[in-house]
Amino acid sequence: MIAYVCKYTPVEIIEAFGEEPVRLDSGCKSYERAEALIHSNMCSFVKGVLENIVENNIEEAVLTSCCDSIRRLYDVLKDRIKFIHILDLPRKKDSLAVDLFYNEIAEFIEAYKAFKNRSFAEEDLLKILEGKSFKKKKESSGSIAILGARLKDDVVEKIKNSCTVNIINFTCTGEERLFNIGAKNNLLKSYAESLLNLTPCMRMAEDRSKLINKEFKGIIYNTIKFCDFYSYEYAELKNKVDIPLLKIETDYTDSNSGQILTRVDAFFESTGIKKIEKKEALKGYFAGIDSGSTSTNAVIIDENKNIISYSIIPTGPRAVESAFKAFEIALCNAGLKEKDITSTVATGYGRVSIPFADRIVTEITCHGKGAFFIDNAIRTVIDIGGQDSKVIRLDDSGNVIDFVMNDKCSAGTGRFLEVMARTLGVSIDEMAKVRKEVKENITITSMCTVFAESEVISLIAQNKDQRDIIYALNKAVASKAVSLVDRIGRKGKYMMTGGVAKNQGVVHAIESRLGEKLVIPFEPQIIGALGAALISLEGKLG
């Protein structure tokens, strides 16, 4: 078995040697071993691959000089595993580049022959290549394209399973290795040329615009944390294409696939890819349960969309129990029994584990729905909850047409403020008071919760006024929220929802940055649950 990473690796040579090529992924729970060998600020994918190699005692690997991180991975692995080889991969594909890559492949063959004391036959390679001969590719119009940085196979599978539309993975992990070997008299050179002609990735000097111009129904664009190549293409693409575009950021750990699927589901819902048929007008009561990371909220409405009751409770260690409890309290407040509820929609992180829900819908769609119901002039919803923050763009009919979420960290969320309140030794209510007049205008420079905490500790050590520090923290959260708004463009009227909307300090800071007043609903924490209840009544998302 020979491990490899990059799609430009001469995988077919490995096969011709009779070895099994295994594309390495990360999929690790931690980078404990990797971070002992390489700096923690390296790309998460490379750290994951390194962890995988060390953890599984992988002895043979072939890399290419594809990016800074992989080149350093080679440096770290050299002299550490039995066989490691790096191929110099040109970024161009002219005849001199082909010559260069051809030599590299020949050198690899010689190196592996010497290592294994085994011969190599070109006929074996030819047979393999003939088995992978070029066929006409399937029509891709009407499909959803996954573009950008490599996306893990299991996430691709989950996306495919979550809808009925054809999904095509155009990232490196989805490359179909098809070859059209013409010149058999110089098989290796012809093979080198074919490899250089694979769909160019962002590290190549070749133009990728052909890939983008296809008539897709929508694009899911993936970037990897600390891998910066693809953000350029995304930045260019988002202003260019007029088809639905969703950006996701993965870090190649298992832990964020839940968040990714929430976004993808919401994307499918907002683009009408996932449709729920409209039911006949229903009678009775309808419930929405929002199982969030910090609080679980329930709302019950009647057939005329009047809010009959609601409840907000902290999410305990078991999301299901909290959901039952919130539901029961709401029922009790309304003087109803469970049998009186015609249908229930669950939303939020814990939505999949709520057994009594008739349907599950993402919190993005629900927040959009709830916010538009309260004020139909709302075009942007800023939701800052316990662990994530999101900005949702609505069209004139209240449909979600775009959204962005914070990355996988608690920067700028309720959790950030909770940690800071604890550090300062004040209650969260104290943090929430407006600080219009400050003695000193301090700026918290770090948005990372961990770094910001040490910054606050430094400020305490410098004897800064606590109110000034709180003011600075509220400003920091506001800055993060407004930068999310800027990612989809500003458009009023704005509504702020989620627990942090109760913090007057943050609200005030966002308003001054946006230069516009925010609509704060009477109970900002129940908007998701309200949206869920409305979907439950109407049976439609938009």
Binding site: H39, N41, R72, P90
Partner: protein, 416 residues
Amino acid sequence: MDPVRFYSDIIKRNMDKPEKVNKLINFGLAAAYYYVNFFKDKRSPKSLHYLNKYCIKSIKDSLKNPQNSAWVNLFSPCEFLIAMDIKPLFIEAYSSFMSGFFIEDYLIDTAESRGISNTLCSYHKTFIGANELNILRKPEFMITTSMICDANMPTFRYLSRKYGVPLYIIDIPYKYSEEALIYVKNQLLEMVKRLEEVFKRKLDIDKLREVVKIENKTRTVMKEYLDYLKEKTLLTSMTFEMYMLFASHVFIGSREILSFYQMLIDDIKRAPERRGKSIFFVHLLPMFEKNFKDNFNFNNNFHIAGSDINYDFLGEIDEKDPFKGIAEKLILTSFNGEINRKVTRIRELIEKVKPDGIIQFCHLGCKQSIGGTFIIKNLASEMGIPFLYLDGDCVDKRNNQEGQNRTRLEAFLEML
């Protein structure tokens, strides 16, 4: 109020008026130039003063004359531009100046809000942000190499598409071979053809040979300077060592840079015998970080003994075939290829300079550099020299943990 902060506030308030910001930046550079010209820092050696003026002037000139300017990255071969009298603007330097003007945060936030990754190197984010706000006037041409830093190619490609300005990407192989040499030489020939078309002037090969000749001579003087470092103490600053990048890379081959190194030799000859502790830096120096400035700028106790980035190529370029010679330089720079090349170069420099300690400032987002930190650490421990690595950012001051850095840096210096 601090005048620089005051100036920075004015720029930030006018960010929605790109023409005005462009003028304000040009004004700031002109003011800096005249300030340096008339108020010489008494602590600074003559050569530093000269280089300081040269660097500001070069940025100022290329920004004011975009029609005769090409944007390049630090490792682009600018010998061709010097020979053709085209003014290079190297984007890392522009970003450093913007950080000096305290507006990098605004530019970085702008780039990120347009979708550029927040983990990208801040030298690139700052430059992209400035372009997103349209505060730079587009040049006639752009040149980037693919080597050393992953950000170069996509940043230049992004900007070239944004403006519709021609870009030449020089793909530099990771390994050295005859084929690699031919591959690069051929690209250099092609690039010059494009330059000739765009700027409507011919490259005079004899002029290029002359540039290369000066470059070779400059390197001889540079090596002489290195020999003095172990016995003399020339007090300088973090900024000076970073300004050296203008001299060791983009503008090497010009007569002014040769003069600078000659002045530097005079300065170091006159400098006192070695005293205090000398620190060698790996890669970049955080010239805006307060702790580093406090501890190293013109300090008798701790002084800067150089950085390997200023000595990444110490060979001679073939004067007869400058295209081949420059191709060779590009492939063989110690920052290209396996880390062993870099390790070997650092070892040579350490043996020559004999510093008391080594510091690597791990610039956030620079994967090629931070990915080798532990390997350089092993080298230092093998050579018995104390080594410290600190995480931070050379441009975006918000990413520097001043308190934590102070404790670590001071503990390290106490240890020496």
